[in-house]
Amino acid sequence: MNYFIKRVLEIIPVLFIISFIVFVLVFVAGDPVALLLPEDAPEEAVETLRTSLGLDDPFYVQYGRYVVNMLQGDFGDSFRYGQDAMSLVLERLPATLELAIASILVAIMIAIPLGIWSSTKKNSSIDLVATGAAVLGKAMPNFWLGIMLILLFSVTLDMLPVSGRGSFSHLILPAITLGTGIAAEMTRLIRSSMLETLSQDYIRTAKSKGLRTGIVVYKHAFRNTLVPVVTIIALQTSTLIGGTLITETVFAWPGIGQLLIQAVNTRDMAIVQACVMVIAFFVIVMNLIADLLYQVLDPRIRYK
């Protein structure tokens, strides 16, 4: 079968499984009626609301209804905001994407030079420091780093705005916060795949042609590590989006993360479902794009 179509078709069962997982969670979470009504609402009111929301139906009926609605693009209304959950989520998506992309760029800017550098100087003190730095980047919890960056760059040095979304400068600190952790992972991966590549025969060939080390490393070796790098970026999308949950909270960044955390706290399950679906869809699409990119990056890869 045509590979691309096959990959796209594969998304469908995946989204279904995800919807199922989330729905089960929501179902188990119990009903939100209690939160919808005043604390001392009469029993009948509770019952009426339950019935009107269809919460009395058996699981499969509820799930079926959910799926049917979902297929029509209806993820239900947010209890908290009384609005269509999906449009609330989509409203916020650009902010999260902006942060995510900026973080990836930060990560790339840190990881590529650092990874290549430490791979060419394997086991030197530079390598050790770079590895240490990378590990450190991974070891620092996002929220701690974020708060520290605010204290340093905003409060003490008064260089950058503290929080919120707006101009480019607002993006810097959150992007660094989030980017560092990803950079750590990326650096380590680039280093190891560079090491792998550098030991390949064609590198020896390139050297035997009398090419400068720079060309050998950046042209011949690095080009070949792009496939793993793209893979890791794609795989990191998930971690990245996860990281935005924390980073957005610290920086009061008005993205999906904030919405989602609030939604979980307030049992606003329509939003939780819509959020998870959107995020999952995004992650899947990123991975699909990565898959297609492989072909561009590595002419050997032609899918069956």
Binding site: G82, I147, G164, P254, N265
Partner: protein
């Protein structure tokens, strides 16, 4: 280096908001997003704190005198035990230009009085009907004699909505594009980010002289909110945690504004048969074990008043001799435990919300620590607010839980309502027949003096019974920029009208 300084200036619009051109914008950082513009469907103080700037009540409480004074109303009058007559100010307009009439009042009050599904229903269902006399005159008729009607309609859910606008466009449209009669009109609400208002030129109280624009920014993380204040990103930051008071106070350009709130932190104990806490001696012992003063000192930086009653000064029915004092006697507590048959203490479960009240989790941990000293092991279970609410609704709470309650009516009726047997049946199961009678009598007693005495007596009974352990009255702690004058009010509302430029 020069470059970077230059950069910093023009890449710092957060700062720029306090710059010249933004001089007329007031930015307030709050911890949680507003819930809704449906004034009747929330029980959320911080949401109301925003609403008060775009809606008005018929009457309002004067924060200095504690008296209830007219707002939208020109005057009001108690006709009989069941009826109040109001006259509206003339020429009050909604933000769309429509004039306020009795019809708007009828629509607003009856919506909540009849709307069972609305969260504020129980505080308004005492109203039987709003009877329109003419465009500016109407009567509020209650089911029973209602001594606290004025208090009821000067708080959450008392905002008057534009009935014509809503009828024409539907309520959903109103929620998206709300209008009111207040000094500021709605511009946009970017959820979880900001709510923006601009000044309303035709405000019946006169256009605000200082501010053209009002921005509420939602910044959930405490340290971020404080940092924004310190760097000048916002003018006001609410809920500054005690750890940062000194920073805010000592920082050039900011100060800390404090006020005691109308909120009291309490520990609710199960009086249900079978729980150790059903024994009054045990409850008293638990109370005696807690050093309220130490909590206020070490966790709240001294801001907060230890108390034995939850009715605070300024409220109708305040019992002064129970206020600003506490019982602490661990030795006696141990004796009481022994008398009650727990010489070696016992183990109990203690639920606490986290992040809801000032230092709530810390307080819970400290209380548990103090109980440990008298041999009682309290296993704390922290809960997210929604889970906590659910737990209580399901009446699955165990021996004790921590709860802070405010009193937006500023009347003991609202506060002591919590001790009637029906209110907490299955949840705390506290019951005292004498108290029942007292409360019932007070409920519809139209004689203020007698009513007040009844409430004071009720508080004494509650204290003796240790129905709940009362910890302290909370403080409101707000970080403010030096460029403005702001004094917080006990009701936790943020009246921008009272905020002026220096």
């Amino acid at each position: 280096d020069k470059d970077s300084e230059g950069d910093a200036e023009d890449t710092n619009p957060g700062k720029a908001e306090t710059g010249d051109e933004n001089d007329r914008t007031l930015t307030i950082a709050i911890g949680a997003d507003m819930v809704t513009f449906d004034v009747h469907d929330h029980i959320n103080t911080s949401t109301e704190a925003i609403h008060v700037n775009m809606f008005n009540y018929l009457v309002k409480r004067d924060n200095e005198t504690g008296e209830i004074v007219p707002d939208l109303a020109e005057s009001f009058e108690n006709i009989d035990d069941y009826t109040w007559e109001f006259k509206l100010k003339e020429g009050v307009t909604f933000h769309n230009g429509d004039e306020l009439t009795s019809a708007d009042v009828k629509y607003s009050l009856e919506r909540v009085a009849y709307g069972e599904e609305l969260r504020d229903y129980t505080n308004y269902n005492q109203i039987k009907e709003v009877e329109i006399i003419d465009d500016y005159t109407f009567r509020i008729i209650t089911h029973e004699p209602e001594p606290v009607l004025l208090n009821r309609i000067s708080r959450i859910a008392s905002g008057i909505l534009p009935s014509k606008y809503i009828e024409e466009n539907g309520f959903d449209h109103f929620l998206e594009n709300p209008i009111g009669t207040g000094p500021f009109q709605f511009v946009e609400w970017v959820r979880d980010d900001r709510i923006v208002f601009e000044v309303y030129d035709d405000y019946f109280g006169g256009k605000n002289p200082d501010w053209d624009k009002l921005v509420f920014r939602i910044i959930p993380e405490n340290s971020t909110r404080v940092s924004e204040l310190l760097t000048g990103g916002v003018d006001i930051a609410v809920n500054v945690p005690p750890a940062d008071w000194e920073r805010v106070e000592n920082h050039e350009g900011t100060y800390l504004a404090q006020e005691t709130s109308n909120r009291t932190l309490m520990i609710f104990l199960r009086s249900t048969e079978g729980y150790p806490t059903s024994d009054q001696r045990v409850r008293e012992a638990l109370d005696l074990a807690i050093d309220n003063g130490a909590i206020v000192e070490s966790l709240l930086g001294g801001a907060g008043v230890p108390t034995i009653t939850r009715v605070a000064p300024g409220n109708f029915g305040f019992a002064e001799h129970l206020y600003d004092t506490y019982n602490y006697d661990p030795e006696r507590a141990k004796e009481l435990l022994e008398e009650a048959g727990y010489p070696d203490g016992f183990e109990m479960t203690f639920h606490s919300p986290r992040g809801r009240y000032l230092q709530d989790a810390e307080i819970a941990e400290m209380v548990a620590g103090m109980w440990a000293q008298i041999g009682v092991t309290a296993n704390i279970e922290f809960m997210e607010w929604s889970n906590f609410v659910e737990l209580r609704n399901a009446k699955e709470n165990k021996d004790a839980y921590l709860l802070g309650l405010g009193n937006s009516m500023f009347d003991a009726a609202n506060a002591l309502d919590y001790y009637s047997a029906t209110r907490f049946e299955g949840e705390t199961d506290y019951r005292n027949d004498e108290l029942e009678e007292l409360l019932a009598a007070a409920m519809s007693n139209m004689d203020p003096k007698e009513r007040s005495e009844q409430y004071v007596r009720a508080q004494e009974i509650i204290a003796e019974d240790v129905a709940h352990i009362v910890l302290h009255q909370e403080s409101i702690n707000i970080g403010v920029s030096e460029r403005i004058n702001y004094t917080p009010t006990m009701d936790e509302m943020i009246y921008v009208e009272t905020i002026t430029k220096k």
